[in-house]
Every structure is written in C-alpha cells, then in structure tokens.
C-alpha cells in the first residue's frame, strides 16, 4: 500500500518539477524583481525592497494603458461570447458525427502558428484585400476599408484568435445538459425562448464563466495582435511590459506584470464568489 502511494507520488514528480522550474520559480523571481532597483547605465540590480516601481504605475501613461487593455479585454471577451455561444449551442444540437466534424473545424486554426494566423489577417483586412472586395461586391461598403491598424482591427484579430477558447468550454457545458430538463420545462408550459433563458443558459453558465476567463485574461496582456494589427500606435499594458523588459528595466516591467496578475486574480476571485452566490 505504501509502495503504491510512493509510486503515485513519482508519477506527479515530473509535473511538480516542471511547474517549479518554469512557473513557480520564474514567478517568484518576477515578484522579487518588482521590489528591486536597477541602474539603467550599468544594469546592476540591487534588492532594496522598494515600492518605487509600483508607485511608477500610477503615472497616467501606464494607468491609461491599463484602462485601454481592460476595455479591449472586456469588449473582445464579450464579442467572443456573442459569437461563441450560438456556435457552441448549434454544435451541441447536431448529431454526434456532425458535432465531431464541427469541433475539428473550430480547432483547425490552432494547427497553424499564432503569428502566421495574425499576419494572415493583415492581408485579409488590408485596404484592397479580400474582405474589402467581398464587402464591395455585396454593396455593404464602398471606398477603402480602413480596418487595418485601427482598434477595430485589433478587436477583430483578438476575437478571431480567441474564439475557439470560448466555444469549447461552452460546448462542453451545453453538451452535458440533460435534455430531460428541457422536455420537463416544455411539459410545464414554458415556450422555447423561456426554456432557453431559464434552463439552457443557467446550465451553460459554468462553461461561459470558464470561457470568459480563458479569453479575458490572455486578452488583457495581449501585445502581439495590437502590434501587428494595430500598427503599434497605442500603448497597451502587454506592450509596456515587453518594452520595459527589452530595454533592461526588469524591476519596472516586473512591477507592471505583478500588478496585472493581481488585477486578474481579483477578477477571478470576484467571478468565483459570484458563482457561489448563484442559487443551485
């Protein structure tokens, strides 16, 4: 018995070592660095436990970057939810074989590199690109499209990149619904809309929450898409962190990163509390 438990411990050892080496220790270093100071001439670091890096975040430049990143994250998460929920619902109502095919179609974009996909959107959104041709052909717009290098272009890119992350957890929740509950609601006189609102949506909420978390959190620190599709004209929080690390100001970059992590953790806590308060 003791041997079996020892063997089980061995099984998780690689994961523990991996997480320690590539998550816990680097995270600890980032937190440590956030309280240090660096000479931007010699790049010598001293660990004096200063809060100066955190005070610097209050500079309107970085506070505005945080606000912009939050707004972008919220709007794109909402966009993913708006598109992802109907798609997940549609897939979950198909026959089993069709579901598998549609799920593969949702996942297919992940088979190619994230950067390649983002650059593909550049060509799609560019003035004179296929999207402009399509919209002109359908007489929806006329003149140059002007989507590339705009906030709308960034939002389109993020929604495109993160949509599968919203669809999959919602699909899992919807697929697990016991349809006897839907039948029961119908038998008790609820029409389709009322059944959807009072039965389907509440039962899908765990998937919605998970989808919003796994879309919203990376979108908050996103910096590749704003650079490529936004023309890098606006300072986002992810870009600010990247710039600070690139120019050697690791303490300040670390402080922004830690502040971002704290904000994310707080958002997760609020979501968790909200879930607990929901009636069963």
């Amino acid at each position: 018995m003791r041997l079996r438990s020892w063997g089980r411990g061995l099984l998780v050892l690689p994961t523990v070592v991996w997480m320690l080496a590539f998550f816990a220790i680097p995270l600890g270093m980032v937190i440590l660095y956030s309280f240090s100071t660096i000479s931007l001439v010699t790049y010598n670091i001293s660990f004096g436990w200063t809060l100066a890096n955190y005070r610097q975040i209050h500079d309107p430049i970085y506070f505005d970057a945080l606000t912009r990143s939050l707004l972008l994250s919220i709007s794109t998460t909402f966009g993913c939810l708006l598109l992802g929920f109907p798609l997940a619902y549609f897939i979950s109502r198909q026959p089993r074989r069709a579901q598998r095919l549609l799920l593969v179609a949702v996942i297919v974009p992940f088979w190619s590199s994230f950067i390649v996909r983002t650059y593909a959107i550049v060509n799609l959104l560019d003035t004179g690109g296929p999207l402009q041709d399509l919209l002109h052909g359908l007489h929806i717009t006329s003149g140059p499209l002007n989507l590339l290098y705009t906030p709308k272009g960034i939002a389109i890119g993020i929604i495109y990149a993160y949509l599968p992350l919203m669809v999959l957890p919602i699909y899992v929740s919807l697929e697990r619904i016991d349809y006897a509950l839907i039948d029961a609601a119908n038998d008790l006189g609820a029409n389709a809309r009322r059944t959807f609102r009072r039965v389907t949506v509440p039962l899908a909420m765990p998937g919605v929450v998970v989808g919003c978390i796994i879309v919203g959190i990376p979108a908050l620190g996103e910096y590749v898409i704003p650079q490529i599709l936004g023309g890098d004209k606006t300072l986002m929080l992810g870009t600010a962190i990247s710039d600070q690390f690139a120019t050697g100001n690791w303490p300040f970059g670390s402080a922004i990163a830690v502040a971002l992590m704290v904000a994310m953790a707080a958002a997760l806590l609020v979501a968790r509390l909200a879930q607990r308060r929901e009636p069963a």
Binding site: L40, I61, G231, D232, T247, G248, W250
Partner: protein, 383 residues
C-alpha cells in the same frame, strides 16, 4: 541552435531577409548571382583557402571552439558561415537573436545572460551602452589585419569592434501618388493632413524621436528637455495622421501603394525601389539620423580567438561583398566594391559620399538620458 536556425530572431529587420531572398531568386534565374561572384572571387584568390592561410600567418594556433553571436535574423552573408567552417575546421559560430528589434535591448540581454553570448551586433549607441555596462571585450587588432579594408572614417567611429554596415533614416515616398516634391521633414509634417492614414513612421524610439528633433533643427542626440518636449508635441501632432508605426516591411506599403509617405531606412527604400521605381528616396534637408553597426566581442569571452578569426574572415572583400549583397545594406568597405552588386553600389540611397555624411548625425549612447527617450516614447504612444 546553428546558423540555419535563427527562427526566434527577429528581427530588427525581417523585411531584409524576405526581400533579399526574392532578389537573389531573381538573380539566380538570370544566372548572374552569387556563383559568378564566387567564381570571380576564387579566380582573384579571395576564396576560403586563402582565408585560412591568411589567418594562419597571423595566429599562433588555429582557433577552436564555437562562439555564439547575437545577431539580427538573416544579417549575414549567404555563404559566410559555411565558408568560415571550411576555412577553420575546428572553429564554429552559432547565431542567436533577440525578440526585440531595439538596439537598446542588446546590452541588457548580454548583461542578463553573461557567458551565453560571445559577440553581438550593435550600433554605436549599443556599444556606448556596453562600455558603460562593462560588457565589451577589447580586440587584438594584430589578429584582424583585414580591418584595413574598412574605410578609416567608419573604423574611427566604431573603434571597439568591426563596423559592418551603415544606414540613414530618411523619407521614402511614391512620386506617382504624391503630387508634391518632398525634400524635408517639414514637408512630411505639412502634408500629413492631406495624406492622412497613408503615412508610416518607424517603430523605434531613437529613429522616430531623432527625426522629429531634426525636423526642428535639433541634434538627434539632444538631452535638452525643452527640445525633447518639442519633439514629443510634433510627434503627437502628426500621430492622428499616421497609418502605423512599423519596424519591418515599411517599404512593402509603399510598393503596394497602401502607404504613400514613409519614414524609412535607406536600404529598405532601396529594396522597395527595386520593386517599384516610382518610390523616391529623400535625405531630408534638415538632416537625418544615422547608425553605424558592427560586431563586437563580449567581455571575458572564452572564444576570443574564434571571434577574431571570424571578424578577420568577415572583412575579406569577397565575404564582405557577400554580406552586402545578401542584406542590401550600405557598405563600409570600399575594398569590397568589386564584389558588390551594381544595384547596391550605384544606388543613390546607399552611396556614402561626403555630402551625404555631412547631412547625417549618428545616434550616440545617451547614458542616463536614455530613460528620458523611453519615457517620451511611451508618452507618444499613450497620447
């Protein structure tokens, strides 16, 4: 990672590689590309065999080991690495690259990864930064006799390593789509409203701020806060009319016509001109910022002998010609001119003459004031 595996690398100028590849492919189709130059080089005795013998005469023992060079992705002659391995069987060079395109990122990377890199490519500002951070290794010039091939002015301006290339930040524009003649930075600012959303600026703080400083007649190395504030206001004024800030593929927009005016580097405009002759290069009348780049050794590298052998090999006219033909950059060694493609050596954007040099100012290391530029850049992007 070997010299073929530079995928992570960036980047300072990814566009260089794509365009270069296209040019080489076209040249190969015409049957006039590097093989002919290689044959010419061999006939002139500039081949790899002579390199080894040349090095052998200056070094007591052949260098051994593998050094790691922090370099831009693709910023190397097409056959340089292979020929170096042939010339020095016991020595090798691996290339690595950074995820950032800024020259200001090189020294922090060296300092944070001591013993990881043996040499790096950097401009004068990066070398100044490296000296301040004490990460630069002085070279034994007796082992690099080919430094004589580098023009004196560049050698003197880059004394802590071997100069590799030189470039200017000027203006490229589509003469067929812009009805006015552009000759200055003032023209760019004045025409911004008319060509709103068709103007692209460089996404690098020193180049962009330096150009704004030149626009008002200031030094690109200014540390005067009032002048920097003025540059910030000028950049904020033009920002609503900018289509994008880009650090790669700047010329691609000019070629397609999706942008009509661009703050751009000379080599990038030259490459774009090869695809669209309507693109004009302008060295602004107010002056322009310029950079001089080169390879330098990292302090206490255990592979100094390999690096010195490589630096000497790199500066051989044939090898340096290969580097220039591959990258399309303005060159710093007239000795290599016979090996350089006419499209490069005769391009007005790339010619290094006294009149041009008189109108450019090299970006220097600014010490503590570097932070002011970083802050200004963030303010510009946040505005």
């Amino acid at each position: 990672m070997d010299d073929q595996q530079q995928a992570r690398f960036p980047t300072a100028h990814p566009s260089r590689r794509l365009r270069r590849r296209e040019l080489l492919e076209r040249a190969a189709q015409l049957g006039v590309a590097l093989p002919a130059l290689s044959a010419l080089g061999a006939a002139c005795g500039g081949g790899s065999g002579s390199s080894a013998s040349s090095a052998g005469s200056t070094a007591s023992a052949p260098p051994t080991g593998t050094a790691v060079l922090l370099n831009y992705d693709g910023w190397m002659g097409k056959s340089t690495m292979a020929e170096f391995r042939t010339a020095y069987p016991g020595a090798g060079l691996k290339q690595a690259s950074l995820s950032s395109i800024s020259s200001g990122a090189i020294v922090p990377a060296l300092k944070a990864n001591l013993r990881t890199y043996d040499a790096a490519l950097g401009d004068e500002a990066a070398v100044g930064q490296g000296l301040a951070a004490d990460v630069i290794q002085q070279l034994d010039w007796s082992k690099i006799p080919n430094i004589k091939n580098v023009d004196t002015k560049f050698r003197q301006a880059f004394p802590h390593g071997i100069p590799t290339d030189y470039g200017k930040t000027g203006i490229g524009y589509r003469a067929d789509l812009v009805s006015e003649d552009i000759t200055s930075w003032a023209d760019v600012w004045n025409l911004a409203e008319k060509y709103s959303n068709k103007i692209v600026f460089i996404d690098l703080d020193r180049d962009c701020i330096g150009s704004a400083l030149k626009y008002k007649g200031h030094s690109v190395n200014s540390t005067n806060q009032a002048e920097l504030d003025e540059a910030l206001q000028d950049l904020i004024t033009i920002k609503p009319h900018l289509q994008a800030l880009k650090s790669y593929n700047i010329g691609a927009g000019l070629v397609k016509g999706t942008s009509v005016i661009a703050m751009d580097w000379d080599y990038d405009v030259a490459l774009a001109q090869a695809e669209n002759p309507n693109i004009k290069w302008v060295l602004p009348t107010e002056g322009a910022s310029a950079y001089l780049e080169g390879f330098f050794a990292v302090k206490d590298t255990p592979h100094l002998d390999v690096l010195e052998a490589f630096f000497n090999f790199f500066l051989e006219p044939k090898q340096y010609g290969d580097f220039v033909n591959t990258t399309g950059t303005a060159f710093v060694s007239n000795a290599a001119t016979p090996y350089i493609k006419p499209s490069i050596k005769n391009n007005p954007a790339l010619i290094v003459d006294p009149a041009t040099l008189a109108n450019v100012e090299f970006e220097n290391y600014l010490g503590e004031a570097t932070a002011a530029y970083t802050k200004l850049w963030d303010e510009f992007k946040s505005a």
